[in-house]
């Protein structure tokens, strides 16, 4: 992992960060320290050897930092001047601010206490870094799993979920491509293509502990299982609102003069997406679904015109 992080400037930066870490982690294992700083052990030894030569002017043993690491455990003394961690630079502040925002969104609704603390940290960080507090904003809507799942289905996106499996009583993280949401016996079930299992699985919604939409395109990763899955091929024609229509169907920006071909796990999704395109997209095939759209739109019209 000791890739390119070895220009003199990057090394100097790392040395300055090593000192405060060592000051609060006296006796840390050499190999663990290398891991923490994402470098090889030999690179770390080179870093520590350089650090050994540093200290206050005078450079007698009295002024130099005192390091010991030949036992495999690292200790540091006489390093008070550099003992406090350096302030965060802009990029580090941005990373934490955006990350905190996501953490706030991912925390369960009944942990308002933690959300308050995290928001307070956002304020502190943005006050100190001079970055706007509202650097990012995760969805302001409710973060209930149901809403996230429906949102993912609508946008044809994958989800990363933490799922509590009752049989093994374990919490697993999986990436799934949602297909369909159904209610049965008072529970809601989500059928989805599971990336871990490489097959379609059914998840009980109340056992999904948390869910998060992934920006990747649904179905893109599911190619492996195409043989066993029942993916539906369909064709559309885009008549207007080109960008919006292509994005809705997760199609790459391209010429739309010819019919566009795509596939999906869910007939429901195809029909809803055509409806939500408000007439700018026409479903050419399969014919039975085309028929279903016409019938369904007619019955909706009757509903509106009779009321």
């Amino acid at each position: 992992m000791s890739n390119s992080a070895n220009t003199p400037l990057e090394r100097a930066s790392r040395l300055l960060d090593l000192v405060p870490y060592l000051s609060t982690h006296q006796g840390v294992e050499l190999s663990k320290l290398a891991q923490v700083f994402h470098i090889s052990s030999s690179q770390l030894v080179a870093d520590l050897t350089t650090l050994w030569m540093c200290g206050l002017p005078g450079y007698t043993p009295l002024e130099l930092m005192e390091l010991s690491f030949d036992s495999g455990f690292v200790t540091i003394h006489n390093a008070q001047t550099l003992a406090r961690p350096r302030t965060l630079n802009d990029e580090e502040s941005i990373a934490l601010l955006l990350g905190l925002d996501l953490v706030i969104a991912a925390l369960p609704d009944d942990r308002e206490d933690l959300k308050v603390q995290a928001r307070e940290l956002v304020q502190r960080l943005s006050a100190r870094s001079g970055f706007p507090g509202k650097l990012s904003a995760a969805s302001t809507a409710s973060n209930s799993v149901e809403v996230i799942v429906e949102d993912a289905m609508r946008a044809n996106k994958d989800l990363e979920i933490s799922y509590h499996s009752l049989y093994s009583d374990t919490l697993t993280t999986r990436v799934i491509s949602p297909i369909d949401l159904k209610s049965e016996n008072g529970f809601q079930y989500l059928s989805a293509h599971c990336d871990n299992a490489k097959a379609v699985r059914v998840f009980r919604l109340d056992r999904i502990v948390s869910a998060q939409i992934q920006p990747g395109r649904a179905g893109a990763r599911a190619v492996i299982s195409e043989r066993e899955s029942n993916k539906i091929s369909f064709e559309i024609a885009v008549h207007s609102r080109v960008r919006a229509s292509l994005e809705r169907f997760s199609l790459p920006p391209s010429v739309v003069s010819a019919p566009l071909h795509s596939e999906s796990f869910s007939p429901e999704w195809i029909i809803r997406s055509v409806f939500a395109s408000s007439g700018s997209v026409e479903l050419l095939s399969p014919p039975d679904m085309r028929q279903r759209i016409a019938t369904s739109a007619q019955s909706l019209l009757q509903l509106y015109e009779s009321s």
Binding site: L56, R86, L125, K134, L135, A138, P215, L301, Y304
Partner: protein, 313 residues
């Protein structure tokens, strides 16, 4: 190479430890590593100073006595050098650690890892057990995400091609103020120099590379800037009355401003911004969402349904 690194560290230590400004000649006399002719030393020192500044270390320039035109001196204030987050608890450290770990494998991974090490160095133990298991992972889709955050931190302009609603590529030049994520999309917001307006752009609609301007510190970011100000602005929005079937249409339900129980249906009020988007969203829900008010929107929706029938029959 390691001599250069030693010199940078020693210079940092010397400038941090001093209470008064150190002059260049004092630095050259006391510090190891400044060797050669006066000119060479001078050049070395200038370069070292720039390097430390590039690491984000603030070197203060001043003189001993403001009344006399003394030789300039240098120092680093411990307050500006060291991380100061005030009183911080183990739980807060844990929250910040989760924030940093959210970048795992994504664009700001390295910066987040460095930040995490600085936080760990504060010597406060992270109290992760007090926080429920959550999945918080940031994923970025644009390969040039890094250019945007760098441009924001250096206050540089950026330019790129942006896909218009009809897929034409339009060149854009903006002063970037902020990046943000919402509903799994990433946005960059800032002052659009061509239109002289604040605009927000979706990163996945940017085509090709993002070019950073040559000049840094070319603008200021307004205090309290909010990326989603316009879309959050309730005063500018209209309200629709929609009947939604019980147990369905969670997206509409979650954002509704009020809800009346009507048995099999709930009647909700929903604030919207763009009538086309509102119609798209209602139609997505098929037979589970029926628009009641306003009449003008209802007419538009009925027209849309006629169009859907026309092209599919």
């Amino acid at each position: 190479m390691s001599r250069k690194i030693e010199r940078l560290i020693n210079l940092t230590i010397a400038l941090l430890a001093t209470k008064r400004f150190l002059t260049k000649s004092e630095i050259f006399n006391a510090l190891e590593g400044y060797e050669g002719s006066a000119q060479t030393k001078e050049r070395m020192f200038e370069r070292d100073k720039d390097d430390l500044r590039n690491l984000g270390i603030d070197i203060e320039v001043g003189s001993f006595d403001p009344l006399f035109d003394d030789e300039a001196g240098y120092r680093i204030r411990p307050q500006s050098y060291a991380l100061d987050l005030g009183e911080i608890t183990g739980q807060q450290i844990a929250l910040l650690s989760l924030a940093a770990q959210a970048w795992s494998g994504a664009a700001l991974d390295d910066a987040a890892a460095r930040a995490l090490n600085k936080l760990r160095s504060l010597g406060v133990d992270s109290d992760l057990d007090s926080i429920p298991a959550i999945t918080a992972r940031l994923t970025t889709t644009h390969p040039d995400f890094h250019s945007i955050t760098t441009a924001i931190s250096l206050r540089e302009e950026i330019s790129f091609s942006y896909r218009s609603p009809e897929l034409d590529l339009i060149p854009r030049q903006i002063q970037p103020y902020a990046v943000a994520t919402r509903n799994s999309f990433w946005y960059v917001s800032g002052h659009d120099l061509t239109r002289d307006q604040i605009r927000t752009f979706r990163l996945d609609r940017i085509d090709g590379e993002i070019t950073r301007g040559k000049e840094s510190k070319s603008f200021e970011i307004p205090v309290g800037f909010n990326v989603f100000q316009n879309s959050d602005d309730e005063f500018k929005s209209y309200s629709a009355t929609i009947d939604i079937r019980k147990g369905k249409a969670q997206i509409l339900r979650a954002k509704s401003s009020s809800s009346i129980d009507m048995g099999e249906w709930d009647r909700i009020s929903y604030n919207y911004f763009d009538s086309q988007q509102m119609i798209d969203l209602i139609l997505w829900h098929g037979q589970d969402a029926i628009l009641r008010e306003p009449q003008s929107l209802k007419n538009q929706l009925i027209e849309t349904l006629h169009e859907i029938v026309r092209i599919h029959v």
